[in-house]
């Protein structure tokens, strides 16, 4: 399965892109994403530890199953205001 990963702030700067594609095994869950992301994009490094994952526009449950074509967003610690 292939999903789209949107990047913001620090993560966009680390990878130099607004979005990337990631292949994930069938049956993968949101909680499986961090190791897959670091494996494919080592530049993310330690920044991967401290982020929230949005799945198709909503903050996700770690046990949510991913589907082909899903869109996730990596949300580094926010700093608005």
């Amino acid at each position: 399965m292939r999903i789209k990963v949107r990047l913001f702030a620090l993560h966009r700067e680390l990878l130099g892109k607004n979005a990337v594609s990631l292949d994930v095994p069938r049956g993968a869950k949101v909680k499986d994403l961090k190791p897959l992301l670091v494996h494919k994009f080592p530049a993310l490094g330690k920044s991967i530890k401290n982020l929230a994952i949005v799945l198709n526009g909503s903050y996700s449950n770690p046990d949510s199953r991913l589907k082909d074509g899903d869109e996730i967003a990596l949300i580094p610690p926010v700093s608005g205001g």
């Binding site: 913001f8 702030a9 967003a73 926010v78 700093s79 608005g80 205001g81």
Partner: protein, 131 residues
């Protein structure tokens, strides 16, 4: 009424205050908070970016929650993005309520939670070579 906006341009506090309609004096208190870029050593500007769809959704969710929690009538939240310099306004939170206690409490709760949950980020731009 809830009004949410994320925009590059500046906002007018007077204009936003005037938008809060007050039929039959339902709002005994209108409170507003304005966050601005604070000047500090070597800071040229702050660059704000957001995940727009999600940020709008979260701002709406927080405003609905504040309405329910504090029983307020009107909420306006405007957050600016782009490059903002010291002194520029960044965020407006405006609350109209029957009484000042709820208006102040809702305004504080909103800005505290906006800073915690809404996907907006800022990056410091410092003088060359100091980024």
């Amino acid at each position: 009424m809830i009004r949410i906006a994320i925009q590059e341009g500046d906002f007018s506090i007077d204009h936003e205050l005037a938008r809060i309609k007050n039929p039959r004096g339902k709002n005994g208190a209108v409170v507003h908070f304005v966050g601005a870029v604070r000047s500090k050593c070597r800071l040229v500007a702050l660059e704000y970016e957001c995940y727009r769809e999600m940020a709008l959704k979260e701002l709406k969710k927080l405003s609905n929650a504040a309405t329910k929690k504090y029983g307020v009538n009107d909420i306006t939240v405007i957050h600016r993005i782009g490059i903002l310099r010291p002194g520029d306004k960044v965020v407006l939170v405006l609350v109209g309520a029957p009484h000042r206690k709820e208006a102040f409490a809702a305004c504080e709760w909103l800005i505290d939670n906006i800073k915690k949950t809404v996907p907006i980020w800022k990056k410091e731009i410092k003088r060359k070579g100091e980024n």
